[in-house]
């Protein structure tokens, strides 16, 4: 167990610099992924960052009973956990990098410091080590839910938290802020040139030209913000106590080939414990560390004045060592049962009550999207019109934060198939553009009470004009209608032909009626019952009378 030569502070410093480099590259890639235009990167490159995530890959494979090609990357990373343990957390995880970056720099460790206490605090120690079990219990809950087919709990995955927080939270907020400023400043003639120059710098490189529709940017940003703010309680609070992905790798870390070891040179000065960002170094065990907590960040190595710390060697005794904060059997069973019951309950009709109202991305409904979606929000970010948004309760509890199409915020662009191409786990099928154009998302239904033309309020043909179907799914008929004054007028009135309608929602998006549109897209299954229903909703068929 003798330490090799690379345990010297200088060498450790080089490794640490390398670690910082990979960390920042990783975070940079994620930030660029959010900022880049959907068309700027090839599809595989856009998918790759999320595919690296071992937890989403594993849970998704369990839940959907299939291993999509993209999941192989994550499962490969998982296998690496048997070599490097939680090295992912210290070296790659972009959320971990963000948390490191936001941690106030620890005071430099003084060589002659008095017998130091653990980093996390003096006695009484807070937060208590027993909190570390929370992450294992969350992991158990995620995997148990996946076992019964629910990927809902992947909302807790660190990479999805980061991607949603950036893409559906901070970016739209920043966009709204910049747009508001530009709009105001542009009102001043003297500033127009400057604003134009600013805008050309910002768009389309960093922000979209058209406003980025977002339904709950504060919520998504708040989730990310809470995770980072917990850093004020303890460095890497999230990683220590909560992260289910860290827990997954932590389980493997016990058997990992690369582990932190302390040799006989150690004089128990405690400087390493002070330096450890995750508080993994345990005084009572001779300053050995729990491999499930150690992120291999190497911060302890240069802190050690005696070169007593090395990183190698599998040790079975350590692997089987139980930590006092490991969940006990009762806790594990409780969480397991709770998760299974919860997953079953949210799948029940009362919890899924509104599911039938949700429009899903093209091909999503047919592909059982809700069961496969890892909630990363890549499609939401990529959707050029803002039509795709994280579901709140439209898709039922089990569909929380999976993508739904909200036509009042945006429409499915007839010339776009980006969402399927950016989905890292093929929850949205990868459709050729020609196929996507035939993919039925829903069907439009006109509310004649509110339609400007049908109610006689004014001529309006916008839904027909906007319909992108080559043979329009909305046609116009000259119809005598009662104007508000009571007189009869002849207006062009729109009629939907459901067999041609793909439910792209541009009619609903552009409908000029205030509030809810007078033409709305419903999931195709709702308005038609059985194969023989033919054209038109009940109302439409009744009105026509004749073929």
């Amino acid at each position: 167990m003798a330490a090799k030569q690379r345990t010297g502070p200088g060498v450790g410093g080089a490794w640490r610099r390398l670690r910082r480099l990979t960390q920042w590259i990783s975070l940079g890639v994620f930030v660029l992924l959010v900022l880049a235009l959907p068309s700027a990167w090839p599809a595989w490159l856009r998918q790759l960052p999320m595919q690296l995530d071992p937890l989403t890959s594993l849970a998704q494979a369990i839940a959907s009973h299939q291993v999509v090609s993209g999941a192989l990357v994550g499962l490969g990373v998982l296998a690496l956990g048997l070599i490097f343990g939680r090295g992912w957390c210290g070296w790659v995880c972009p959320l971990g990098t963000l948390l490191d970056g936001l941690t106030p720099r620890r005071r430099p460790v003084k060589r002659k410091a008095p017998r130091a206490h653990r980093q996390a605090g003096d006695d009484p120690r807070w937060p208590p080590d027993s909190w570390r079990k929370i992450k294992y219990l969350l992991l158990l809950a995620v995997l148990a839910a996946a076992l019964v087919g629910s990927t809902l709990l992947l909302v807790l995955d660190p990479l999805t938290i980061l991607l949603r927080g950036l893409g559906s939270g901070l970016l739209p907020l920043f966009d709204a802020l910049a747009r508001g400023l530009e709009t105001r400043l542009y009102q001043v003639p003297a500033l127009r040139q400057a604003v134009t120059a600013l805008d050309q710098a910002l768009r389309p490189a960093l922000l979209p030209v058209d406003p980025l529709a977002a339904r709950a940017p504060w919520l998504m940003a708040a989730v990310l913000a809470s995770v980072t703010l917990l850093n004020l309680v303890a460095p890497r609070f999230w990683c220590r106590y909560l992260c289910p992905l860290g827990a997954l790798l932590g389980v493997l870390a016990r058997f990992a080939l690369v582990q932190r070891r302390v040799n006989e040179a150690c004089k128990s000065c405690g400087l390493c414990a002070r330096a450890c960002p995750t508080g993994a170094i345990q005084e009572q065990r001779g300053y050995a560390s729990d491999p499930a907590e150690c992120t291999l960040c190497l911060d302890c190595q240069p802190a050690c004045p005696r070169q007593a710390i090395g990183f190698q060697g599998y040790d079975l005794r350590q692997s089987l060592l139980r930590q006092e904060y490991d969940p006990n059997r009762r806790e594990a069973l409780l969480v397991l049962g709770g998760s299974l019951a919860g997953a079953w309950l949210v799948g029940q009709p009362w919890a899924a009550g509104a599911t039938s109202q949700a429009l899903q991305p093209p091909g999503g409904a047919q592909n059982h999207l809700v069961d496969k979606c890892i909630r990363c929000g890549a499609c939401v970010r990529a959707c050029p019109t803002g039509a795709l948004q994280p579901a709140m309760l439209e898709a039922g509890l089990e569909g929380l934060w999976s993508p739904v199409l909200i036509p009042r915020l945006g429409y499915c662009d007839y010339g776009c198939n980006t969402c399927g191409s950016v989905c890292p786990v093929e929850a949205i099928p990868r459709l050729e553009l020609a196929d996507k154009r035939r993919q039925v998302i829903g069907v439009a239904v006109i509310d004649r009470q509110r339609c400007l033309a049908w109610s006689g309020q004014s001529p309006c043909i916008i839904c027909e004009e906007m319909c992108p179907a080559p043979t329009k799914a909305i046609s116009l008929e000259s119809t005598p209608v009662k104007a508000p004054g009571g007189e009869s007028v002849i207006l062009q009135t729109p009629i939907v032909h459901p067999r041609r309608c793909i439910g792209c929602g541009i009619c609903e998006y552009k409908c000029p009626v205030e509030g809810a549109a007078a033409i709305r897209v419903y999931p195709a299954g709702v308005t038609f019952h059985g194969a023989g229903a033919g054209e038109g909703s009940h109302g439409e068929r009744r009105r026509r009378g004749q073929p």
């Binding site: 235009l37 068309s39 747009r179 400023l181 530009e182 709009t183 105001r184 400043l185 542009y186 009102q187 001043v188 003639p189 003297a190 500033l191 127009r192 604003v195 134009t196 805008d199 768009r203 389309p204 979209p208 030209v209 058209d210 406003p211 050029p384 019109t385 662009d413 007839y414 010339g415 776009c416 004014s458 001529p459 309006c460 043909i461 916008i462 027909e464 004009e465 906007m466 319909c467 992108p468 179907a469 080559p470 043979t471 329009k472 116009l476 062009q492 541009i506 552009k510 000029p512």
Partner: protein, 348 residues
């Protein structure tokens, strides 16, 4: 790292807030100034020149003459009102038609800034589907303007379906414009400014793209195609792309399009009828609806251009509500029989 004091922080905050509030206040003053009085030519002019205090240094496009008198497009010179080129390559047809009108220099002064406004309504289909203006027609105009010594030639539209960048590429227009030396510009939302339309009868105010009004020269390049409400979308209908709230214009469409045309005055309208969309417009998507007419119409008179284009569809100018309203407002002429029309046949 140096800590800032609370006082410094508050001071910075106050300065920032002040800076934010300032433009709003200024804008408010400006808006008040125009809102209290009935809009006049002079006000529209001062609005257009954009500098709040400066007197209008450059004559705005709607000249009083155009407002009040009958059509004034052709001067005493024998140049035709309309030029129609047929059966040639798109670029050649454009060049010949404009040459027949007296040459591009008539419309594009040296060193001027030019905006070309084609119809790029969606990013769904390539130009073959005739929902968007022919790329070579647009490119020919870009080249002509540059040859005439234009300082800057920008091409832009405000698509309603799909992002502008996608529409520019899918239509094929971006590629041709770039190779001709022009610039594709995505229209920023904040540049649509609330603008009074002094001569407007039904539409008296609209959010109009600022640079369309401030450019030295505007060239309007519609594609001739079917539209269910307007019957056809041609030159006047193509101007809808320069306003933000299109649904506002759908009611009383003919009059409102004419109102818009009274303020947004293209120096030149070139109707692309190389390929015409006969049904399922304005979006199209089926080649069965496309007819190859191989025709380009050019005129300084937007109403006359639209009137002649209507006949390509077997319609009379009066069948188009906006042509009727345009004539009524004195924006141009639709009496084709009385207009000098130069026909150029490049076929055979």
């Amino acid at each position: 790292m140096q800590a800032i004091t609370r006082r410094d922080f508050l001071r910075t905050l106050a300065l920032g807030a002040g800076a934010l509030a300032l433009p709003a206040g200024l804008a408010g003053c400006q808006a008040d100034g125009t809102a209290t009085l009935p809009p006049t030519q002079a006000q529209a002019a001062s609005w257009q020149t954009a500098a709040a205090s400066a007197a209008p240094s450059r004559t705005p496009q709607p000249s009083p003459e155009a407002e009040t008198s009958s059509p004034s497009t052709a001067t005493s010179a024998p140049a035709p009102h309309l030029a129609v080129a047929r059966n040639g390559e798109p670029q050649e047809m454009v060049r010949r038609a404009i040459a027949a009108l007296g040459g591009i220099a008539q419309f594009v002064p040296q060193n001027s800034t030019v905006i070309i406004k084609p119809n790029i309504c969606t990013g769904y289909h390539s130009y073959e589907y005739a929902a968007t203006t022919n790329p070579w027609v647009v490119a020919a105009l870009v080249s002509l303007c540059l040859e005439a010594g234009a300082r800057k030639v920008q091409v832009m539209d405000h698509p309603f379906g799909g992002p502008p960048a996608q529409a520019y590429v899918t239509s094929g227009i971006a590629e041709q414009v770039h190779s001709a030396g022009g610039e594709m510009v995505e229209m920023a939302r904040f540049k649509f400014l609330s603008t009074p339309i002094p001569a407007g009868r039904s539409l008296r105010q609209a959010e109009i793209y600022d640079e369309i009004l401030t450019a030295d020269v505007l060239i309007n390049v519609p594609i001739a195609k079917h539209h269910s409400l307007a019957r056809l979308t041609l030159g006047m209908k193509n101007l809808m792309g320069v306003i933000q709230d299109r649904s506002a214009i759908h009611q009383d469409l003919g009059q409102r399009l004419a109102d818009l045309s009274s303020l947004v005055r293209p120096a030149l309208t070139v109707v692309d009828a190389v390929r015409m969309l006969m049904a399922n417009g304005p979006t199209g998507g089926s080649l069965d609806d496309v007819v190859q007419a191989n025709t380009v119409i050019a005129s300084a008179d937007i109403v006359a251009a639209d009137s002649l284009a209507a006949t390509l569809f077997g319609l009379q100018p009066e069948d188009l509500s906006y042509v009727r309203a345009g004539v009524e407002m004195g924006l141009g002429r639709s009496d084709l029989a009385a207009l000098r029309i130069e026909e150029i046949d490049l076929g055979g």
